[in-house]
């Protein structure tokens, strides 16, 4: 098959086509919808998307309308990775048998944190292990937002959700966020990356790179939710930027097991700068904030250590 020209996005070649159209039912300021819109620009029209039940699926497919400009299928909540595996297998064999023309079509699974870290983890693990040529995008808004802001294993420590409310006997989410990128890395797949819509070109390039690479790729996309995080709708990007700048959500890639950190240069800002913008952290006491800061700093040091041990050289 003719090798795809590797596209890298900059201001000069930013695609103007939309494949995720307006009219979708996303909340005002939805960081997830924005991230998806950018991801779809990066992927282009020769893409098939399988979605999990969740915010993206609900805002984009209210029968008889659809916000999708590419072929799209939704089946259930926990099987995105399995459905897209079936799509990939079908395209592979149909091409081989000459029933469809030979053409590179990106097979992309789109799911939220609930549909990936919790109920969808098994299917994801299976798909990554089997080595399908797929891209899996986890849009992480850190809770089961579509059903009304319930906690998931990706909800950050201390966060209020409707099922991890602070009270006399509790302080909000009391477990640390499950590290999905590390789980993906443990499957030894060719490409794992984290991305944030506050760094749109970085996001688009990572999505594109993951799609272009042969074999499974996983990109974890930080998706601010003003509704669930209790912040004004115009702060989604600022929150997404601060998450990176404070080290709460560091940007990095692991390419064939070699690490590359894409953080903007400079010291990490204090996590409090990030936490104070969001109502879901409003109840946190000083002790908890200190704990979060300590843990974030530890994780950041660990990340830098790993990157120095197995650095990616171009």
């Amino acid at each position: 098959m003719k090798e795809l020209e590797k596209i890298r996005f900059t201001r000069k070649n930013l695609p103007r086509e939309e494949y995720f159209f307006p009219g979708h039912r996303g909340c005002q300021g939805c960081g997830e919808a924005l991230a998806l819109r950018l991801a779809m620009k990066a992927l282009g029209k020769d893409t098939i998307v399988a979605s999990a039940t969740g915010c993206i699926e609900i805002i984009s497919s209210p029968f008889p309308e659809t916000a999708w400009g590419v072929p799209w299928i939704h089946v259930a909540f926990e099987n995105t990775a399995a459905v897209i595996s079936g799509v990939e297998a079908a395209l592979k064999v149909l091409t081989r048998k000459g029933r469809i023309p030979e053409k590179r079509i990106f097979c992309v699974g789109v799911a939220g944190d609930g549909g990936t870290a919790d109920i969808g983890l098994q299917a994801l693990s299976g798909a990554l292990e089997r080595g399908h040529d797929i891209l899996y995008l986890c849009f992480d808004n850190e809770a089961y937002m579509n059903t009304g802001i319930q906690r998931s294993s990706a909800t950050p420590f201390g966060a209020w959700t409707t099922t991890s409310p602070p009270g006399k006997k509790a302080k909000g989410q009391m477990t640390w966020k499950k590290n999905l990128p590390e789980i993906a890395i443990a499957h030894n797949i060719p490409y794992v990356a984290t991305a944030s819509p506050a760094y749109p070109y970085d996001l688009m390039n990572k999505v594109r790179r993951g799609a272009e690479i042969k074999g499974p790729a996983y990109v974890h996309i930080f998706s601010p939710c003003p509704t669930g995080w209790r912040c004004p709708s115009n702060l989604s990007i600022e929150v997404a930027r601060l998450a990176v700048e404070t080290g709460v959500f560091p940007l990095f890639e692991v390419i064939e097991g070699k690490w590359r950190i894409n953080q903007p240069k400079g010291e990490l800002k204090p996590v409090e700068d990030y936490l104070k913008l969001q109502g879901r952290f409003r109840h946190l006491d000083e002790e908890t904030i200190k704990f979060i800061q300590k843990r974030v700093t530890e994780e950041w040091e660990k990340l830098k250590k790993k990157a120095s041990l197995f650095p990616y050289e171009e």
């Binding site: 930013l14 939309e18 115009n234 600022e238």
Partner: protein, 91 residues
């Protein structure tokens, strides 16, 4: 407009891509972005950061929000590097 059971395609398949564009999500907003063309340097960051994809480049190269879809979230105004966009209350 409700479809009869005979009119619905098998499996409720939707064959018109992007038909969501029928919905006037602009009805949702209580504020609207207004661009100060003096300050705007046509960088296009507002175009990038619109979750609706409602902002378009016009012939002059300035970026305008399509008020049919604009939900008034204010991201464009907040992120504009030149502070050229102001959110103005509707009505």
């Amino acid at each position: 407009m409700k479809l009869s059971w005979r009119e619905i395609k098998p499996g409720a398949v939707i064959t018109e891509p992007g038909s969501s564009r029928k919905l006037r999500t602009g009805d949702w907003r209580s504020e609207r972005p207004v661009v100060d063309k003096e300050k705007c340097n046509k960088c296009g960051m507002c175009y990038i950061f619109c979750p609706e994809g409602a902002i378009h480049e016009n012939e002059e190269g300035y970026f305008e929000s399509d008020l049919y879809y604009c939900k008034g979230c204010g991201l464009c105004a907040h992120e504009c590097p030149q502070k050229a966009i102001k959110m103005v209350p509707e009505g």
